[in-house]
Amino acid sequence: MKKRFKRDQLFGLCIILLGVFCLAVLPTIKPVIAVDPNDAGPKFFPKLIAIGLIICGACMIIMPDEDGVPYLNKEQWINIAKYFGLLILYIGGLYFVGFLISTPICLFLMINMLAEVPVKKVIAGLYSIVLTLFIYLAFTKILVIILPRGLLFT
């Protein structure tokens, strides 16, 4: 089946939508103080950006480049989805169970996921625990930054 749209045209449409969204939100911006009668106000610059985005998007639709070599194949996109999926889980983990529990688990899973050949589970597990403790100590003791403790423990 012949492709209906080129990649540039789809992205051009997204850029236009971003510009339209920006214009649509502009009326909700309430200027805090009237600075000067000549002042363009807080809406002016975002309006210029929005118009610029719409023009660029339109140009991309009208004058698209050829698609060329695919950036990633289907299998590679699945890998990207897995990678970001794990990171979403990690942020969820940070929120609910905190740094000390979610980090070694996700780190272990990440090491296994990124490895092109199977890794030794014991080494990966040990590495995950040691690095977690290292980051924890570096942040809490040296930089005096409290890392997320998790909703369940606070």
Binding site: R7, D8, F11, I15, L18, C22, I29, P31, V32, I33, V35, N38, D39, A40, G41, P42, F44, F45, P46, I49, A50, G52, L53, C56, G57, C59, M60, M63, D65, E66, Y71, L72, Q76, I80, Y83, F84, L87, Y90, I91, L94, F99, T103, C106, L107, M110, I111, M113, L114, E116, V119, Y127, L131, T132, I135, F139, L143, V144, I145, I146, L147
Partner: protein, 506 residues
């Protein structure tokens, strides 16, 4: 002079030396490992400097900056993959030299050339910055607006991708920068009632997502984590002969000034200077046929120029507050974190800090040279680090770095969101540099635009009629117009080639 001595005294304290050595080592490591670079190193290490005194923070950042730019030649020499885009031209000759057994000479030349480029350019820049600041205080909001516009225009025009994508990328960066309180009157924009967005999008979170998270995602997806075999290096001296220096003094001089000038211009950087200097060295050489086959002249040209770009880039960054490329933009935001607002008044308000930046660069170049000399045996081992351990560690340090920026998990979410946006933008062929520059320069653009309109009753006219402002706008418009013309030519050529192929098939 007293401020220079004051900065010098700060930099020779044991704490500062220790921190700088650490920063430089991290920079060299990040520069040396292909796939990582000084930008990622600096983004990753920036949160660790939050609690430091400004002088210490600057010293560490300069260490990472200089180490990162210089370190790129190591993997270019040992495995033929440039550690950073500033070392692309180094690959052409350093790798063939290494393959024919001249590794020590190639590495030594890279190390000494990097040192010459950084040391002398930072030294020059230290004295030039005062003069440019004197000129800069005479500029009004009209000139500043046009200068920022010119910087963005140039970076769009010079990005290899489609010019409309470059513009869209810069506009997306500007749009993201408008989130939060507006300049001048602090009206809330695009916050949608979220407390987390009132102070705007966190730069650290954005950078970590755009560079580190995206890079690892794409490398993992493509399975490009394998490293070629690397030979062990036994370093004895720098391997540079008197003939090398004698035959290359003019090449070094030319590459130095080319690099410094390119660094000074907004929108350009080490990625371009090394290619230009390499091309010039080849053109001027008596034996151009040897270039690309292991000619040491090419290594000198590339490494001197990409490092002298550093000194050039520091001048407009500190005296005008306009960064030239990603790395200086990041350095500038790192300085902002430490309460240092780059601009023409900086040299008058906090002269000691300005000189700390330049002296920091000079000290870092010395540390880098020593580290590269004594660390040559370690680098091949470093390049053998399994990527799944390296990348995994970086990811989790990234998230905690973003968290420590303002102590909210919202920032971790931003890292993820910008990682996804960055993957999608790269998929769409959008250049990333205009986005970063757009984000950083946007508040400056808006503030000066609004101030320029407020100061007179003539509206937009002074932006065009004031000579310096008009000249900057003209440069931006001409560059964009030329880039557009080139794009149309390329499109026409591609269409003709495609038509010819189709005719051939029939």
């Amino acid at each position: 002079m007293e401020y220079i001595i004051q900065s010098f005294q700060t930099l020779i304290t044991p704490t500062c030396i220790g921190l700088m050595l650490f920063g430089t080592a991290m920079g060299v490591i990040f520069g040396a490992i292909p796939g990582l670079n000084a930008t990622i190193g600096m983004t990753l290490m920036l949160p660790f400097t939050f609690k430091m005194e400004p002088e210490m923070g600057i010293a560490v950042l300069m260490g990472i900056y200089i180490g990162g730019v210089s370190g790129g030649f190591i993997s270019a020499t040992l495995v033929g993959i440039p550690g950073t885009n500033a070392s692309i031209a180094t690959c052409y000759d350093a790798y063939p030299m290494s393959q024919r057994g001249d590794t020590v000479r190639a590495l030594g030349t890279g190390a000494v050339a990097s040192f010459i480029g950084t040391f002398i350019s930072a030294f020059f820049a230290m004295f030039l910055v005062r003069y440019l600041s004197k000129v800069a205080v005479m500029l009004g909001p009209w000139e500043y607006f046009s200068l920022c516009f010119c910087a963005i225009g140039l970076i769009i025009a010079l990005s290899e991708e489609n010019i409309f994508k470059g513009m869209a990328s810069a506009l997306i960066g500007m749009f993201v920068a408008t989130i939060g309180a507006s300049p001048i009157d602090a009206s809330f924009r695009f916050t949608f009632g979220s407390i987390n967005l009132i102070s705007g999008v966190d730069l650290i979170a954005m950078m970590l997502g755009i560079f580190a998270i995206k890079l690892i995602a794409v490398n993992f997806a493509r399975g490009t984590q394998k490293m070629p075999e690397i030979k062990k290096v036994r370093m004895k001296g720098f391997g540079i002969t008197k003939e090398d220096l004698k035959g290359n003094w003019f090449n070094i001089l030319r590459s130095f000034f080319l690099g410094m000038w390119i660094g000074f211009l907004p929108g350009l950087g080490g990625g371009i200077s090394n290619m230009v200097a390499y091309g010039q060295a080849k053109r001027a050489s008596k034996h151009p046929e040897e270039f690309g086959k292991g000619c040491v002249d090419g290594v000198w040209a590339s490494e001197v120029s990409n490092n002298s770009t550093i000194g050039g880039a520091l001048i407009p960054m500190l005296s005008l507050g306009v960064p030239g490329d990603n790395l200086s933009a990041l350095l500038m935001s790192g300085l902002m974190v430490h309460g240092i607002a780059c601009g023409p008044l900086l040299i008058y308000d906090r002269p000691a800090l300005v000189y700390t930046v330049f002296l920091g660069a000079i000290f870092a170049s010395i540390y880098t040279l020593l580290m590269q000399y004594y660390g040559m045996r370690v680098f091949p081992n470093l390049l053998r680090t399994p990527y799944h351990y390296l990348y995994s560690s970086i990811i989790f340090i990234c998230f905690m770095g973003a968290f420590s920026s303002n102590y909210t998990l919202f920032n971790c979410g931003l890292v993820l969101v910008f990682g996804i946006i960055s993957v999608l933008l790269t998929y769409g062929g959008f250049p990333i540099a205009p986005l970063i520059l757009g984000f950083i320069v946007s508040p400056l653009l808006e503030k000066n635009l609004r101030m320029g309109l407020t100061y007179t009753d003539k509206g937009f006219l002074p932006f065009i009629t004031r000579p310096i402002s008009g000249a900057f706008l003209l440069v931006a418009v001409v560059s964009l117009a030329l880039a557009l013309r080139d794009r149309r030519k390329a499109q026409r050529k591609a269409r003709e080639t495609k038509d010819a192929e189709e005719m051939g098939d029939q």
